[in-house]
């Protein structure tokens, strides 16, 4: 092992790629998963917009996407990924499968956060004459903010891990580097460096997330 042989430029590029993949995937995951989670919550039994068919269909899709192993999803989605991202390779090619895997996960987390809220808040809103849109936007989401932020952090960390796997299909990033240099070329030093960088990333996310949650909780 000789750390002097490491191509730090390559590592730097890969780190940026991982950050881009995680960042954009997280953005789309929240954009898709948050409304999905809200709809799941509202249409579930004994909730404001209780609708069993809608709930069951959505719930089924979410479960299917969550039960397909990410590596398989990555491959199965290639035609779709080409359509949406224009390529199935690189950072762009990794984002659609990452979102397809993380959005249902995040949606479930959001659904659970909303379910854990005191039902008294919804009741008070109804008693004050709020419609369901006002109840969700003005009361439930602000009340659930701490829980949702925590869910975003959990999802972001999961995405860091998943993005490493996308190296398998040439997704780029730290995982790709670890696979090509560390595994296939037996450069254990590269492997160690990428793993250390990933650990640092996850740590930073967690620390930052915990601080944010603590600050929101202080209210």
């Amino acid at each position: 092992m000789n750390f002097g042989n490491i191509d730090w430029l390559l590592i730097g590029e890969a780190t940026v790629d991982t950050l881009l993949m995680t960042g954009f995937s997280l953005l789309f995951t929240v954009v898709i998963g948050l409304p999905l989670g809200i709809v799941l919550f509202l249409t579930s039994p004994r909730q404001m917009l209780e609708n069993t068919p809608v709930y069951q269909v959505l719930s089924f899709i979410v479960n299917v996407l969550r039960s397909v192993p990410f590596l398989i999803l990555l491959i199965v989605m290639i035609p779709f990924t080409r359509m949406v991202a224009g390529t199935s390779l690189g950072v762009e090619g990794a984002i659609p499968p990452l979102v397809a895997s993380a959005a249902p996960f995040f949606a479930r987390l959001v659904e659970n956060v909303l379910r854990e809220l005191d039902p008294g808040v919804s009741e008070a809103c109804r008693a004050m004459g709020a419609n369901s849109r006002q109840t969700v936007l003005l009361a439930l989401l602000p009340e659930a903010m701490t829980g949702i932020v925590a869910a975003v952090i959990v999802t972001a960390i999961a995405l860091v891990g998943y993005s490493a796997m996308s190296g398998v299909i040439g997704g780029g990033g730290l995982g790709d580097l670890a696979l090509r240099f560390g595994y296939q070329r037996y450069q254990t030093d590269v492997m160690i460096v990428t793993v250390v960088i990933l650990v640092i990333m996850v740590q930073l996310l967690q620390v930052f997330g915990d601080r944010l949650v603590a600050r929101l909780n202080r209210k």
Partner: protein, 336 residues
């Protein structure tokens, strides 16, 4: 005025049909404080939720100020709800908003502009004595203060009717008294009708004008609080009273082996202050021993109720009830 006509609520499960309310009819006058008391599961919670249709009756009508609430569409119902305040056992405040913004919340729903919202919030917060806490978050306040915020929020949109769902049940006795005093003040100063549900006779006694006792989804007894307290008819009412230290039957043990006539004397209002018993005892030459008694206040009216054993000359004893009645004391002969 509120009119409830034959309200029924049934829940059908595959196994059985249960009746949360089995035909409730009531009339509640404008400006009064009306209490509904019952044990848990008696249906009081379902009943109060029907006054703003948080729960819809399976059958029956709710008419408030000549408006049939049960016939309203969704949008009209939401507008109607903005004219009814509701206070909850666990306050149900928004923990993510300040006290001020909690109070502004119903006004925002009603489409009032921010400046007017703030003005109104300041008024009601002053009314409940929380002006200094407007910028705090609910969890920084004590339970009693949180309930004051709940009351301020309920009053913000100037409702004609205030519903209190076990508003003091989560509070300690001292805080309960201060919240109850606040409710009475609001009722007097704003002329607001208040309907409250509770499982405590003490709450009924401190604030209510009239009371209905509910058991197994039915109103078993209702009337002026004084009448119900002095002459409870239904076993449920009697046991609720005895649990709060107003046992109507305690004299029986004391009277065991006692000679003479037993009388239950009930008096209310200013007559309580006159030395009536010693006067009649002197005038008629009879002796009275008190077997049981309670003297106190129901809302603003002083009242008393005594069970006495009368001993003396038969003729004098026979005249006693009439003399007492002339002096405004209700008199009822008891038999062991």
């Amino acid at each position: 005025m509120i009119v409830l006509e034959n309200l029924r609520k049934t829940y059908a499960t595959p196994e059985r049909v249960s009746h949360a309310l089995a035909g409730v009819s009531l009339r509640i006058d404008r400006g009064e404080i009306f209490g509904i008391i019952g044990r848990s599961g008696a249906g009081k919670s379902t009943l109060i939720r029907m006054l703003n249709l948080l729960e819809r009756p399976t059958e029956g009508r709710v008419v408030i100020n000549d408006q049939e609430i049960t016939a309203l569409g969704d949008a009209e119902l939401r507008t109607f709800r903005q004219s009814v305040g509701m206070v909850f056992q666990h306050f149900n405040l928004l923990s993510s908003r300040t006290v001020r913004d909690n109070v502004c919340f119903p006004l925002r729903l009603a489409g009032m502009n921010r400046r007017q919202q703030l003005e109104r919030a300041a008024e009601v917060l002053a009314l409940v004595g929380l002006s200094d806490h407007a910028d705090k978050y609910p969890r920084q306040l004590s339970g009693g203060q949180q309930q004051r915020v709940g009351i301020a929020r309920a009053l913000a949109s100037k409702p004609q009717l205030l519903l209190c769902d076990e508003a003091t049940s989560a509070l300690d006795p001292e805080t309960t008294q201060s919240i109850l005093r606040l409710l009475v003040d609001i009722n007097r100063n704003l002329g607001l009708t208040i309907v409250l549900i509770t499982h405590s006779m003490d709450v009924i006694r401190s604030v209510c004008d009239r009371v209905a006792v509910i058991d197994a989804g039915q109103i078993v007894e209702h009337g002026d609080v004084l009448d119900v307290f002095l002459h409870p008819q239904h076993p449920v009412t009697q046991s609720l009273l005895s649990e709060s230290g107003m046992d109507a039957e305690g004299w029986r043990e004391m009277a065991d082996g006692m000679e003479g006539t037993l009388l239950r004397l009930s008096f209310r209002g200013p007559s309580i202050l006159r030395p009536l018993l010693s006067q009649v005892s002197r005038d008629l030459g009879v002796d009275l021993s008190i077997l049981q008694g309670s003297v106190g206040r129901i809302k603003d009216t002083p009242y008393g109720q005594l069970v006495v054993a009368v001993q003396g000359e038969a003729q004098a004893c026979a005249r006693l009830p009439a003399v007492l009645r002339e002096n405004g004391v209700e008199c009822e002969e008891l038999h062991q």
